[in-house]
Symmetry: D4
């Protein structure tokens, strides 16, 4: 049993959901799966869905067990085992976000980011396999990237991609350093340092592997652009 409280907080016993957040910031609360049991995740998704029936609800960082529990108890949820997300409810998007990455190793971060973008109200456009070690493939996608409302550049190892992109287009650009690498890469800190020392001006970045955070920021920018355009 859940109790909706006067101040916009729903108490689930194991967690108190801030159901008033959507009114304050325009976006509903998200269920971070890390450290929660599968049962708790299902319950939290249901409670938030009830509080916001007309919005999509997102759960991230789901373990295999949590994904299986969602599949069994939330038949309407859309699950992604690569990005480890679950979405409950209808998404509605305005504006387009290009999510660019070098290769398949970064795919989990790309997917978490793309799903977050959709839930937070913009259309994700995944463009992978365009690493700088084969620069011709990136150049071939230049126009498609240039026409997006925002670009998210997902990059591990030495993270050269955001700098190259930043020199090609003037679109707002968010970099997501990833922990992907061989040998000693400080678990993504090498990539992170690269993003904030980019020679291309205007690159902003988020924490290592934080596809969710970049997705929230990108969607907010893209949907504003589109909203005002209508």
């Amino acid at each position: 049993m859940t109790v909706s409280q006067p101040d916009g907080v729903t108490d689930l016993g194991f967690a108190r959901l801030d159901t008033a957040r959507a009114a304050r910031t325009g976006d509903p609360e998200v269920v971070f799966g890390q450290g929660k049991t599968p049962g708790q995740i299902v319950a939290a998704l249901r409670a938030l869905h009830e509080a916001h029936p007309d919005r999509a609800i997102l759960a991230t960082r789901l373990s295999e067990d949590a994904l299986a529990e969602c599949a069994e108890h939330l038949p309407d949820a859309v699950l992604d085992s690569v990005g480890r997300t679950a979405v409950l409810g209808r998404t509605e998007t305005r504006g387009r976000v290009a999510v660019v990455a070098a290769g398949t190793s970064d795919l989990p971060v790309v997917r978490e980011c793309a799903t977050t973008i959709a839930v937070f109200g913009a259309e994700p456009d995944e463009i992978v396999d365009v690493g700088v070690a084969g620069i011709h493939r990136l150049l071939a996608q230049r126009d498609r990237i240039d026409e997006a409302d925002v670009v998210v550049a997902v990059a591990g190892m030495e993270a050269a991609l955001p700098s190259v992109l930043g020199g090609l287009v003037g679109v707002p650009l968010i970099a997501v350093p990833t922990s992907v690498g061989y040998g000693w890469n400080l678990e993504g800190v090498t990539a992170w340092l690269a993003t904030v020392n980019s020679c291309a001006p205007g690159v902003v970045s988020v924490n290592v592997d934080n596809g969710f955070g970049a997705g929230v920021a990108a969607a907010r920018i893209a949907r504003r652009t589109a909203r005002t355009a209508e």
Copy 2:
């Protein structure tokens, strides 16, 4: 004597200006004053102004000597001795960026950011003295911040400001950690770590004291929002 070359590069002898950048990314090249002589800075500003007579040209990180040289030889330039910038040419802005900071110590970064925002095409709105140690002053500015197109949160020490702001408004939010602090603060890295570990979703950040980078990113977002809105 400067020579304009076929591929959009103007060779000043001591530097080659990428005069084709505006066509590629929408923004002209900027003169980073750090490591350049006052004379070189004046020459670079003049050359870029000639190449882009209808755009404002920005020089940043100017020493006192460089500011004096600009004052003497570029009477039309607008100089800021706090933010250490010079601007040559007319700015035209669309959209508004709230630049929020805790106090006077962060003012140089705030000013560099605000001037960059104006040169890159959006209107800066400085809101200082709203640190989290006196939370009532921040709450009093909530509506003014909420109505901006983008928020830049400039914060040193433990950099709690971006997190508090991120819980109050849903506007796109760029954090600029600063090296301001007493005692051991790792020259701003403490603040930087705080920005990428913010409990508020969607916070993106730039390098320590990089008011310029945040300004470029913020202006690109704000002017897009406004452009499409017209």
Copy 3:
């Protein structure tokens, strides 16, 4: 068989308990469960309880096995599976310590701290779910916090809570950084750096996740305040 030795040391074979510490510092020795077998923990609790029959004895950092062993062999012990503590004997408290935290993820540290406070002689008052990303909930608890003898602020991620609290009240304030976070947070060091770089004066702090240490310090302050008040 345990042997009480002339110099206030009880030798258990696997450990020598400093039974004279209470006389010297006012507090009996504590059983750190980490690295000890369940049987050793039960034996140590018993030996200290015999040496100090009129004081509560504390064991911390207990594994699930250790908690089960205590449940079976020490029926009078009060166990807490979240804070991973066991308490044997009667607590007597003077003064009140507010233990404030942002959310449920920090609960294990909050509980370890609260139990320590009680054993070391003060009354803990847990106030959770008051993170800075929803500042209104924190403001609603201002008076309750202001009236405590000491405040312990438990905070992970960017640890903005101690700074906001330090600006609201003048009560002695101890910060406990926690290792809670998503992505790269240096296992709590980000939070730790924030606590010692707080813009609010007078914030002191302990090691990451060290609810025990903060509890000892807080209780010593609170009970002194109360003792002299009687």
Copy 4:
């Protein structure tokens, strides 16, 4: 000319003083001298003194020039060239804080701390030259330390002093690591790490060389103890 504003802020042009802080936290704002001109420091001290005529006002981290300017224009100020502080107005103290240190190298931190303690309302008792490399001198002061309301242990190099003190007495203990050392000591971080890893329970600490922060915390604890005792 200074203008007192409705919301408890006095605007000096170069800074806005939070004159309402005393009502909120019990203590007036402090003038941090670092980064301010001598003239600004004198002006800020005067303005705060006018706003709080019955309280002592503190300025810290004063350069030699700033101390000279204070000596010339504020004849009533009490200046300390070792601790680099100026105090304007009458201090009134309740409770005693023992400030313990190993030697003369730590004296600047000891003095900043002691002066802060007095301004924030408690009596400082300096006990220097009691380093652990000559343990007999420390033991000789045991009773004097044990009878204080709070102990501040100032220690550089390997910072063994707080641990030894923490095993001798049960008084609330605040450690101040200092940057004093020969060779590679990470500018005080070695000492800082030692304070948070102390084998003595209940040790809390502040930033490197932060005598001010420790003084604020210690005075708040000591004066509360004494207030309730009356």
Copy 5:
């Protein structure tokens, strides 16, 4: 089958033993168990024992499986499951090394060190439970420590012990920082930094948990002292 080669190398197939080292440095090669299979360890011990029948041979860092294998196949070996060592052959000692430690947590390092000392030719004298948080117990052992030829101080957490010892006696002193600690201690680096920043002159140190290295150094010093004394 092992083959003794002309240049003092015995080839075991999986390793080549430097059987000429004893002639060169006075000490035989040691078998580091880490990363070797139990069978390889037994074979290496046998080969070295054959090459040096009149000297004790040491194996360190043995897993439980390796200890069991030694127990089964090398009935003459002396095994220590705490220090994780095996010794084959007769030790002969000259000079005494005091191995001092704070408590039972450091015992594995103490034992590895003591066994190494014996194998390398000096007599170890273990003095545990003399941590600085109970300084009276350390003082009670002062004379016994002062009369040793060398002192090894094993210390984790903030590692205050070497500094206190260095102020009490003038005996050559080797510090061994250990990774023992609660909370964030950088896996022993805190202790390590403390040893090289000791306020007591003449303290030398080895790597974290390196009881073996300290034992080799201590024994070489002690047996030289004694050899010349005869």
Copy 6:
């Protein structure tokens, strides 16, 4: 007066030159100017020139004073005030090394490297102003780079250049990270980490700003290639 000693060492009083090194490794000793007086540098250059009259002798890291002293007393020396080098004697080169860099800020490192290459026997070919933020300029130089015997990529900030180059050509590639950057770049460590985490295989690197070291390595490779080719 210098004395040539039997074992190939020339003793200058303040330094002993290893005049036998050329025979051993193929290259004469180099005069590192850092930490030496202008007079010592001139003397060392002369002594090495006398010992190797048919080889060029190199001095690096020269201060302005040292360059002036060389200009006055060594009229035959070739001086470079940007790369801070002096060369005495005739260079003879085989093979070509492309030294590629993003811009004018890296020029001092480029020049030190190029001069070293020439002294160590290969022909340097400087290609600057080809940063990744303007990728078309780099692509325009592809063939010239591809035909070199070795490529040295000099890069500061996020050091994306070596990765992009490594994807374009298969020539042996040595990366030199530089300390050039704005804001927090860890004094070149960001660039360094990027070079060893490059997504392009076969990239090797040297210390930050070590144009000399890269030049030595590059020349040894290039001249071998050319020597065997004749």
Copy 7:
């Protein structure tokens, strides 16, 4: 089913192979086994082998399962369980690379490096058991090392080997720091720092344990030397 695409990319579904890389850089793409399933590795090897029937194809960082899968399905592949590699196709070598290491612990890196050298077109010559703690064994191999076209020095712990080698020979020298060590060695960073701070000029290095990267670089140098020599 695999589809060869117009732009030299073969799409395997789970990965897109850059089959045009050989034309661009002279070397075919390599299969990094880390993070791939055994089935994917077998499929990738087959696809690359089909695209380059006349070249050897390399797979690295193979798990035991992956090696078993290769053994079953690729009977023609040459497998190495120490270096964890698989090679499919005929190698053809020109030039010789000496791969030098201190002992058996570094063998996995040595083998990965040697196999890579062979696949990339040069002959590897492994010289192990020549650590600096037994310098005579290294000196005995001086001539064999001096006559190689390139030297790769594989070294863990304090990595003194590259410096000693660099003083003995003038052959191009690539250092591979390894994570081998006892106690606290920062997982190979100690060795890495040593390689870039070598007192011997011209030492270049790669990431920790990156035998593959050093092998690619060494082979490219050696085969060029040999190619031009013919």
Copy 8:
């Protein structure tokens, strides 16, 4: 005026000298010049000399001004401007310590160490210019080193010297890492890490550039060896 106090402390006003230390540890207190005025240093040397007329007194880390002041007011003092020390009184030595270093850059540390050794009662034997990049010079000194009572190895950059020495001789070996280096060497930490990760067993070390600390330890060992030998 100085006052000798009952407990073996001489109060100079600016410092309190522990004149009882010699009785406790066998060695008198030392004057660390860093942070003291020239006048204070002269006064402290005089006071300690008066308290210990039959022992040599040492002052270290003297600035040029301090050395000049000593030259003027203490005509009997032996001054060393390279090692920056002053010695007052007669030294008497037993046992020999070989102080080994690679080159002239390490000379200040070598000299500080050698002077300390003499003052603390052993004979220093300086052996410089024996770096590992010219291994033959080191081998030529093997016997001289082997016959010392203790070896101190002073080494900067990658600090390979202690490891090579440790494999050559079995004499007790103390390593002193120095901050000497070109490029990024972490101000000596690279060398420090090398000393504690040495592949030669029994190497102990002190802080970066701490020639004094190594000298104290070495002298204590050497004079004991010699004392017992008589």
